[in-house]
C-alpha cells in the first residue's frame, strides 16, 4: 500500500514538474496584440476589436476604460490551445464591439495588461472614421481606382524579403516572398515568380501560413521561401516578384435594386450565396525590386584546391575495408555536411601520388549534406594508408577561408602470390606508364591467335545422324525388343491357355501327319495308312475344337456346325470317315488309288478348316 502511494506520488510529482516546465517555457512567450477588422469605419457602424494575449488562457477581461471617439462593449472571450511537434501553445482573445461616435482620424491607444506582476502593452491602432456612405466590402480587383479608393492595396499586398543586401559570390542566402491578406477571399494562389538575373535560384519550399498583425490589422500571411546565391561579383537587382491568384468578390447584379426583388426574401445574402452571388477573377500582385551587391571572394588566404564552396561545412570520411587483397577495390566515402552552397562542393582529391587508382565518385546530395562514394584500388601492396583528404571553403560569417582535413586512414594490402598463369594480360592500351600513374586501366580486346595444328582433318561429310547406318542402328533394337515381347507373350499364353495351345499345335501336327500319310501311300502300306489317317483326323479335330480326340466319330461330326464349320467340310469329314471305315473293316487288295482319296480329303479338310475357323 505504501509502495503504491509512493508510486502515485512519484507520477504526480513528474506530472507536476512537467506542467511547471511547460508553464515556465510558456512564460517566456507572453505577448499582447490588438487588432481590428478594418481600420476604416463609418459613424454608427460597429466593428470588432480583438485583444489577444498569447502564452496563457487565464487572463481576466481587461477594462478598456474610455476610448476617444468610440463606444465599446465586451463581446466575449475565445481561447485556443495548439500542440505542434509536442510544443504546446495557448492564447486567449477578448473581443470587443466598437462603435464610432464621430468622423475623423482617431488612434485607439495601446492597452495595458498586468500579468504575474509584469505589464504588457499592445501597439496603438489608427482608425479613419467617415460620416457617409457604406464601405464597399468587396470589389473587383480590376477596378483599380475604386480599389485604391477603398484601401484595397492595404488589404492584400506582396512583399519580397531578401535575407541579405550584400553577399559574397557563391554565398547562399534566403529570399522570402510574403502575401498579406486581410478580409479578402483569395484562392488558387500560384507559386511566385521573380526576376533574379545574376543569381542562381533554387525551388520554393512548401509555403507556410500564419497570421500576423501589421498596422493594427490582422493579416493572413502566405510565405514562400527559397535560397539563392550570386553567380559573379557585381550589383544586381533582385525582383520585382509577382504572384498570381484568384480573388473572390460579389457579383455586381442589378437584382438587389430591382423593383421586383426589392425588399423581398430573395434579396438576402443567403440566397446570393446559394445562387452564385460570388465569382472569382484572376489577379496578380507585384513587389518592388531590391539592389543586391555581390562581392568577390577575397584572394588573400585562398587555399590550394579551393573549389568555390561558400558556407560552413564539416567533413567525415570512412572506408569499406581497411584490409584488402592487392588489386581489390576499397570504397572511400566522404560526407560533407553543413549549410551553404553545395553545388560548388566537390570530392576532395586524393592526389596522383596517393598509390591508388581512382574512379569517378558516385554523388548523392540532400539539403544539408553531400556524400561522395569513390572506388579506389591500391596499385601495389606497399600502400600503407589512404592519404589525408582536405576540403577548403569560405566562411562568409567570419569572412575567411577554412580548411577541414580528415586524417590518413591506415590500410593493409595483402600481397597476392605470384602466379604467372593468372597474371592479367594488358594490351598496348594499358602500358606500364599508365598503370603506374594511377589512371583507370584500359584492357584491350582482340581475337585469340590462330591454332598451330589443323586438328582432326577429315573429309567433309554429313553427320552420322544422316547416315543410313544410324537409322538401322535405331531400328534394330526396336524390332528386337518388340519381337521378344511378342514371343514372350505368346509363350505365356501357350502355357496358360490349353485351348489356344491345342489349336496352335493342331495344324503343325496335321502337316506332320500329311507327310507320314504320303510316305505310307508311297510304300503301299494300306493298313498303316488308314490307321494313321483316321487317327490324324481325330487328333486334328480334337485339337482344333478342344475336344477329346478319342470321342471324335462320324456320328458327332454334325455337332461341329455349332463351331461354325461349313456343311461341305462336314460332308467331306463324313466321307473321310466312311472310306476309312470301309477300308478298315472290308479288307481289299491294296491300291494306291484307294488311299489317295482319303489323303486328298484330309488335306482339303485341314486346309478349309484353317482358312474358315480361327
Amino acid at each position: 500500500m505504501i509502495m503504491m502511494n509512493k508510486r502515485k506520488f512519484a507520477i504526480l510529482l513528474i506530472f507536476f514538474a512537467l506542467s511547471r516546465s511547460n508553464l515556465c517555457a510558456l512564460a517566456d512567450d507572453f505577448e499582447l496584440r490588438a487588432s481590428v477588422d478594418s481600420n476604416k469605419a463609418i459613424v454608427g457602424s460597429a466593428f470588432n476589436l480583438s485583444l489577444t494575449f498569447s502564452g496563457t488562457r487565464d487572463l481576466p477581461v481587461p477594462d478598456l476604460k474610455r476610448i476617444e471617439g468610440f463606444d465599446w462593449r465586451y463581446a466575449g472571450p475565445a481561447t485556443r490551445i495548439s500542440i505542434i511537434n509536442g510544443a504546446r501553445s495557448s492564447s486567449i482573445t477578448h473581443n470587443y464591439i466598437l462603435t464610432p461616435l464621430k468622423a475623423g482620424s482617431f488612434a485607439i491607444p495601446g492597452f495595458e495588461v498586468e500579468y504575474k506582476g509584469k505589464i504588457y502593452i499592445s501597439e496603438p491602432i489608427n482608425m479613419d472614421v467617415s460620416q457617409y456612405g457604406p464601405v464597399q466590402e468587396s470589389c473587383a480587383p480590376g477596378d483599380q481606382g475604386q480599389s485604391e479608393k477603398n484601401g484595397f492595396d492595404k488589404r492584400i499586398f506582396l512583399i519580397l524579403q531578401p535575407g541579405k543586401r550584400q553577399v559574397y559570390a557563391g554565398e547562399k542566402f534566403p529570399v522570402s516572398i510574403l502575401l498579406y491578406v486581410n478580409n479578402v477571399a483569395v484562392r488558387d494562389i500560384q507559386y511566385p515568380k521573380y526576376v533574379h538575373e545574376g543569381f542562381l535560384s533554387g525551388k520554393f519550399s512548401e509555403p507556410s501560413q500564419y497570421t500576423r498583425v501589421a498596422n493594427g490589422l490582422n493579416y493572413n500571411v502566405v510565405e514562400f521561401n527559397t535560397d539563392i546565391y550570386g553567380l559573379y561579383p557585381g550589383r544586381f537587382t533582385l525582383g520585382p516578384a509577382e504572384i498570381a491568384c484568384n480573388l473572390v468578390y460579389k457579383k455586381a447584379t442589378g437584382r438587389r435594386n430591382a423593383p421586383f426583388f426589392g425588399g423581398s426574401i430573395f434579396n438576402t445574402d443567403a440566397f446570393e450565396d446559394l445562387f452564385g452571388g460570388y465569382e472569382s477573377r484572376p489577379s496578380s500582385f507585384k513587389t518592388e525590386g531590391f539592389d543586391i551587391e555581390v562581392i568577390p571572394l577575397p584572394a588573400e588566404g585562398r587555399p590550394d584546391g579551393f573549389s568555390g564552396a561558400v558556407g560552413r561545412f564539416a567533413m567525415s570520411a570512412k572506408v569499406s575495408s581497411q584490409q584488402v587483397n592487392a588489386g581489390d577495390p576499397i570504397t572511400l566515402t566522404v560526407e560533407i555536411e553543413g549549410s551553404g552552397n553545395f553545388d560548388t562542393v566537390l570530392m576532395p582529391d586524393l592526389g596522383k601520388d596517393s598509390g591508388f587508382k581512382r574512379y569517378e565518385p558516385e554523388v548523392s546530395q540532400a539539403s544539408s549534406r553531400k556524400c561522395f562514394q569513390q572506388v579506389i584500388i591500391p596499385v601495389s601492396d606497399s600502400v600503407k594508408e589512404i592519404p589525408a583528404v582536405s576540403f577548403s571553403y569560405f566562411d562568409p560569417a567570419v569572412k575567411m577561408y577554412k580548411v577541414v582535413t580528415q586524417p590518413a586512414i591506415p590500410v593493409e594490402v595483402v600481397p597476392l602470390r605470384e602466379d604467372p598463369a593468372r597474371r592479367p594480360t594488358v594490351s598496348s592500351a594499358g602500358t606500364a606508364d599508365s598503370r603506374d600513374s594511377g589512371h583507370i586501366e584500359a584492357l584491350g580486346r582482340d581475337i585469340v591467335y590462330i591454332k598451330e595444328g589443323p586438328g582432326l582433318l577429315r573429309p567433309a561429310k554429313k553427320p552420322f545422324c544422316f547416315h543410313s547406318l544410324f537409322f538401322a542402328a535405331v531400328f534394330v533394337p526396336f524390332i528386337l525388343v518388340l519381337s521378344t515381347l511378342i514371343i514372350k507373350r505368346r509363350r505365356a499364353r501357350l502355357d496358360s491357355d490349353i485351348k489356344y495351345a491345342r489349336k496352335c499345335r493342331a495344324y503343325k501336327i496335321a502337316l506332320k501327319n500329311i507327310k507320314e500319310l504320303r510316305n505310307a501311300i508311297a510304300k503301299g502300306s494300306r493298313d498303316r495308312f488308314f490307321e494313321r489317317a483316321i487317327k490324324a483326323l481325330k487328333e486334328y479335330l480334337g485339337d482344333k475344337f478342344h475336344l477329346p480326340a478319342a470321342g471324335m466319330t462320324k456320328d458327332i461330326v454334325s455337332n461341329l456346325r455349332r463351331d461354325g464349320v461349313a456343311d461341305d467340310i462336314i460332308k467331306e469329314i463324313e466321307e473321310f470317315f466312311n472310306i476309312c471305315d470301309m477300308a478298315r473293316y472290308a479288307p481289299l487288295k491294296a491300291q494306291t488309288k484307294e488311299m489317295t482319296r482319303p489323303y486328298e480329303l484330309f488335306k482339303s479338310i485341314v486346309d478349309k478348316l484353317e482358312r474358315s475357323v480361327r
Partner: protein, 254 residues
C-alpha cells in the same frame, strides 16, 4: 581363334588410319604455310591457303577457326563470323573460338539476337551448344541401346529385378533429355538454315527486284535465316522476324 580375328581387325584398322593420315600430308603442309602467311600479316594469302584445303574436300574446326581469324584481320567481319560458326559445329567447347565469336559479334552494328525459351529448353539449348552433332548422336544411340538392353533383360527374365528397373528408368530419362539436346543440336547446326551478311549495308527489299522498296538495311556480320530462293535473290528473315529479299552475293550460308 576369336582373339586372332580381333587382332587382325585392329591391325587393318591401324593400317587404314595410317593411310588416312598420310593422305593429308599435303594439306597439312598447306595449312602450316597458311599459318606462316598469317603470322607475317599476309592475310589474303593465308585465306587462299585455307580455302584451298577446304576445296580439296577436307575440313576441321581449327581450319575454319584460322580462316575466320584471317578474314577478321582482313576486315571481312561477315565471312569471319561465318567461318567461326562453321568451326563451332566441329569444336563447340573451344574457349578461343567462343571468345573470338563473341568479340566478332560485339563488333557487328545493329546486331539483333532475340530468343525466348523456358528454363528447361534454355538448359537443353545450353547443353546442345557444348556438343557436336556427332557426339550428341553417339550419346543418344548409347543411351538408346542401354535402355533397349535393360528392356530386353526385363522382358526375358519376366519380372525384372530392382536394379534393372532403376537402370531402365535412368536410361529412359537420360535418353529423353538427350533426345531434346540432340534435337536442339540438329536444329542449330543443320535444320535451321543460317547465313551471315558479308556486305556492308546490304539492302533487304520487299520484292526480289532492284527497283523494289527497301525494307531495312543489314550490316556485315548480322546473322539471318535464308527461307527462300529466287533468281539471284534470297529471301531472308532477321532474328526479330522481319523478312526481306537480298542479293545472294550479299550473304554467305553457314
Amino acid at each position: 581363334m576369336k582373339i586372332k580375328y580381333i587382332l587382325v581387325v585392329f591391325f587393318l584398322q591401324a593400317l587404314s588410319m595410317r593411310a588416312y593420315a598420310a593422305d593429308f600430308a599435303v594439306e597439312r603442309e598447306l595449312y602450316i604455310k597458311s599459318n606462316i602467311d598469317y603470322a607475317h600479316g599476309d592475310y589474303g594469302q593465308a585465306i587462299s591457303g585455307y580455302n584451298e584445303i577446304l576445296d580439296r574436300g577436307l575440313e576441321s574446326g581449327a581450319l575454319y577457326y584460322n580462316l575466320g581469324n584471317a578474314y577478321f584481320k582482313n576486315n571481312d567481319l561477315g565471312r569471319a563470323i561465318a567461318n567461326y560458326l562453321r568451326a563451332l559445329r566441329l569444336m563447340p567447347r573451344d574457349p578461343d573460338l567462343i571468345s573470338n565469336i563473341e568479340y566478332a559479334r560485339s563488333l557487328v552494328r545493329n546486331n539483333i539476337r532475340t530468343r525466348h525459351l523456358n528454363p528447361f529448353m534454355s538448359l537443353a539449348l545450353r547443353l546442345s551448344t557444348r556438343l557436336t552433332l556427332d557426339a550428341a548422336t553417339y550419346i543418344v544411340i548409347s543411351l538408346y541401346y542401354l535402355s533397349a538392353l535393360a528392356a530386353l533383360v526385363i522382358i526375358i527374365k519376366g519380372r525384372g529385378r530392382g536394379y534393372l528397373i532403376y537402370l531402365e528408368l535412368l536410361a529412359s530419362v537420360l535418353l529423353a533429355v538427350f533426345c531434346i539436346v540432340f534435337y536442339f543440336t540438329l536444329k542449330e547446326n543443320y535444320l535451321d538454315k543460317r547465313a551471315v551478311v558479308v556486305q556492308e549495308e546490304l539492302e533487304a527489299r520487299f520484292e526480289p527486284f532492284d527497283t523494289a522498296t527497301v525494307h531495312f538495311l543489314l550490316d556485315a556480320g548480322q546473322e539471318v535465316a535464308p527461307i527462300g530462293c529466287g533468281n539471284e535473290w534470297v529471301r531472308i528473315k532477321r532474328p526479330d522476324g522481319r523478312q526481306g529479299w537480298v542479293k545472294a552475293a550479299g550473304i554467305e550460308k553457314v
